[in-house]
């Protein structure tokens, strides 16, 4: 971009680009706060961790392919499955959803920026450093090895000496801090920054799903942060939260963990539902059937998911009566899922189908997630769960729902939105190939695991005797993994190739109806040259309809009066999205990055000495103060532009 000559008037687009873009060059990279730069990095980073987690799964499947394999010993295997589960749950599945939201939510609601852009950058850096710390520890043979839910007392100081579990617990602090901040950011964005006219009943379903997810994060993640802090305290300064000998209780951890852990799995599922709604509407060429029912289902799922956590603890000696309640609650959560599934079927039924790769991934959901949901119902039944709890049956269930409910829709979403991110389409033929390899490979890998569970194979075992007869099915499962490897290779190849030489996409390659398609691909720094005004649920389709029916687009169609020469945005009212105020947003800054570094120092230091909390908080406080300290330009240049409507 050429340097702007102050004497020459810029046209609106160039002026906005100048105002909103991140500083150039490598140093500028660390100061970036544009939600699209951060969102992109976030997405790439989550996929990096995904590939690491998946590579680990590959090694695990190699080890389990034949009985009594001596490829890997228990010490490494225990680290591997813990890293696999923790990577997938903490470093991939939840963050990737938030990352997609960081990029797309502001575009879908017609905003110039995400709320609190500096905090957003900070949340990204904290997440990145947490993940790097965990993998650094793993490379130094200090990878966690107590499972992704680290049950005490196994994870306590007596049975897990060394620092492995401490790194794991601290990784949770990093990622949950990041997730909580993102949740607050997204809630604020959705409530305050929607385009004029986008009242609550016009919010795209993906945005709804992220709103529900964010509220769930707010109430769920504190539980695991508190739990893991208490675990660290037990391990480092000798408290007794989980030590039965001194009045503590091992089940306290399980309650705290699953009070988070169960909503956690729906945190992964609900954005997946949002992807599906976006994809199905576009490729069935009609709005999703039953929008109000869809929204209510999302909200109901969010609420109910806080009442299920004990179904992970059926094998403990909790009172039986209580368990029945959780059986009933777990069965009932199928109802909102059913409502959504039936509405999508109605959408497909009455739509006209454009069978492109994103839709294929969406359709796989109906096979894979529904099957996984059915096994979920089996697990929800106390007597059945007592048989298959902690066996490969659960492993099968969790992969069916996680991959069917989140990963397949996510891949669909990547095919769907890649053109928006890069301006280029992914290749259809490779996409179909990837889809079929993934779909078949997935089922070959995970379907046999149901039977293995029934036959008594516990999860988290590094080897098994030949006499158990588990060999053949495990071998089949491992072969299926090869197909998944091939499919991911297609995916990588497709991404790498299409980034350079894919077909140019244009603004709206799929003929979709939501606002992210109303701007260029990739979008300019300010997202929209003119802020849009919305008149319906699918603004672009509504506009086309209006145009064909009335010969003109509905008026007003865009916003005027928001400055282009500094970072001004339009805030609207939370319910009806009426224009409300025009706050000014912060400039790019190094402080979020530096503050994240200081926070990392504090967190890692406190694994080794509690004093790090005291000394480490000094640099954090300094960085925060510097971050929030108003800069001279902020205070002076625009002071005269500030005013309140009531005349103050």
């Amino acid at each position: 971009m050429q340097k702007h000559n102050a004497h020459q008037p810029l046209d609106q687009a160039a002026q906005l680009e100048q105002t909103w873009r991140d500083p150039p060059g490598l140093p500028g990279w660390f100061a970036a706060i544009n939600h699209k730069s951060i969102g992109k990095r976030f997405i790439y980073t989550t996929f990096l961790f995904f590939f690491l987690g998946v590579a680990i799964a590959g090694v695990m499947r190699l080890q389990l392919a034949v009985p009594q394999n001596s490829l890997i010993g228990p010490d490494l295997y225990n680290q591997l499955f813990t890293m696999h589960g923790s990577t997938m749950m903490f470093l991939f599945a939840v963050p990737v959803m938030q990352a997609m939201a960081v990029y797309f939510v502001p575009l879908m609601i017609g905003a110039r920026s995400i709320a609190f852009p500096r905090l957003n950058a900070f949340a990204y850096w904290v997440y990145l450093f947490g993940g790097l710390m965990l993998y650094g520890a793993f490379l130094l043979n200090t990878g966690p090895d107590a499972g992704w839910f680290g049950y005490v007392p196994l994870a306590g100081a007596d049975y897990s000496p060394g620092k492995r579990v401490d790194f794991w617990a601290q990784m949770i602090t990093f990622t949950e801090l990041s997730a909580l901040l993102e949740a607050v950011i997204l809630i604020t964005t959705v409530f305050k920054l929607r385009a004029p006219g986008m009242s609550l009943n016009r919010i795209p379903l993906f945005v709804w799903s992220m709103l529900v997810t964010s509220f769930m994060v707010v109430f769920a993640m504190p539980a695991v942060m508190l739990g893991s802090t208490a675990l660290l305290l037990d391990r480092l300064v000798g408290t007794h939260f989980y030590n039965p000998a001194e009045g503590g209780d091992a089940l306290l951890w399980q309650h705290l963990f699953w009070f988070f852990g169960h909503p956690e799995v729906y945190l992964i599922f609900i954005p997946g539902l949002g992807f599906l709604s976006s994809i199905i509407a576009t490729f069935a060429r009609r709005p999703i059937y039953g929008y109000p029912a869809m929204v209510l289902s999302l909200i109901t799922t969010g609420f109910l998911s806080f009442g299920l956590w004990v179904h992970h603890m059926f094998a403990t000696n909790l009172p039986e009566l209580g368990k029945s309640f959780f059986t009933a609650a777990s069965m009932m959560i199928a109802i909102p899922s059913a409502v959504q599934i039936y509405c999508w079927i109605a959408t497909l039924w009455t739509g006209r189908l454009n069978l492109k790769t994103p839709l294929l991934f969406a359709l796989a959901f109906f096979f894979i997630l529904v099957l996984g949901g059915m096994t979920g119902l089996m697990l929800a039944s106390v007597p059945l769960d007592l048989q298959v709890h902690d066996t490969y049956f659960v492993v099968a269930h969790l992969h069916y729902v996680l991959l069917g409910g989140a990963i397949f829709p996510l891949f669909g979403a990547v095919y769907y939105w890649f053109p928006k991110l890069t301006g280029r389409l992914l290749d259809e033929r490779l996409g179909r190939l990837q889809f079929w390899l993934f779909f078949i490979g997935f089922n070959v890998t995970f379907f046999p695991m149901h039977q293995l569970g029934i036959q008594g194979m516990p999860r988290r075992i590094y080897a098994y005797a030949a006499e158990t007869g588990w060999g053949p099915l495990n071998f089949i499962a491992s072969c299926g993994t090869l197909l998944i490897v091939a499919s991911l290779a297609c995916f990588l190849a497709n991404i790498l190739r299409s980034r350079r030489s894919g077909m140019a996409a244009g603004d709206n390659p799929w003929g979709a109806g939501t606002l992210e398609w109303a701007t260029a691909s990739p979008p300019p720094a300010a997202n929209f040259i003119r802020l849009p005004v919305v008149h319906g649920q699918e603004p672009l389709w509504d506009m086309q309809r209006h145009l064909s029916e009335h010969g003109q687009i509905p008026s007003p169609s865009y916003v005027e009066g928001v400055a282009a020469n500094f970072r001004q945005v339009l805030a609207t009212t939370p319910l009806d999205a009426c224009p409300d105020s025009r706050p000014q947003f912060p400039e790019p800054s190094y402080w979020p990055f530096l503050c994240a570094l200081a926070t990392t120092g504090l967190f890692i230091g406190s694994i080794f000495t509690p004093w790090a909390v005291v000394w480490g908080s000094l640099p954090v406080a300094c960085a925060m103060i510097a971050w929030f300290w108003p800069r001279h330009v902020d205070r002076v240049t625009h002071a005269e532009q500030e005013y309140r409507s009531d005349g103050a």
């Binding site: 010993g73 490494l76 043979n141 059937y289 006209r352 059915m374 039944s381």
Partner: protein, 335 residues
Amino acid sequence: MVALMAWENPSPADAALPTAAHNALAPAGPQAAHIAGLWYLIVGVCGIVFTLVLLAVLYAIWRAPRATETTPAALHDDNPRIRRSVVWAVIVSTALLILLTVASIATDRVLAGLSLTDAIHIDITAHQWWWEARYDDAQPSNRFTTANEIHIPVGKPVILTLKSDDVIHSLWVPNLAGKKDLIPGRTATLTLQADREGDYRGQCAEFCGYQHSYMAFLLRADVPARYQAWLEAQRQPAAQSAAALESRGRQVFLGGNCAMCHAIEGTGAGGRHGPDLTHLASRESIAAGTLANTPENLARWISDPQAIKPGANMPPTDLPPDDLQALVAYLSSLP
């Protein structure tokens, strides 16, 4: 990481528990049978719903006209037939879900109501990575402790009292009943009953550290007479063979560090860190279902347990070959 990968093949395990059944859908007792019944009900209902959902999706794909990106998007249409179908589908699903809930809770109640008259009580304590079983009796001299092998009489309810000595474990015999966690600081109970004679494999189901994989046990259901005979035998102190080799082995055992961890009734060895060895030779397997109980395996195990079960809480013992041979002979003479 790499250094830790360098360990020996765990065991070519000449089948430790070759005949033990382990399949949740091959019930051998009332608990597992009721659960299997519930299983078939739920699988049936879910299977039908799953098939219908799939058929609906496939039919929708088949019937819907094809489109491209440029096909104008349709408007909202509120087709009352579609609306009725969706509402009915939700109502029927809800009814089925209620049915499943009721069936599940009813099964729970049936299981809780199974007769416990004349129940046998066995105290189980889980250790990293083996099982201790104590058979209680009103008469102190009839009490005894064994490990990794539980015998029960056919047709009688058995109440297992479950405790843990270290971390959380979970006891599971798929053919007989669901599982139950053994949680330090808490006591739980599990009821099961075998109606068919046979060997059943049990395994620790909750991840408990290094050797979670090899923490199995044998549950043998015997006809009452044979069970009674087994009880009588277990109640005896250890056999005192007079043969030279065995007595030398006994000296090795008592003279070495074995007695610090292992008990052999009637010898002075009273250690409780490891399995009770009083009637070791009567067991099918050693090291919690890891190795068949043969003299060669015993020798391998004693000289280097870490090669077989890395992380197991038993140190390797470097014995001269004759001592080892004598020790093995002694242990093999403890029926």
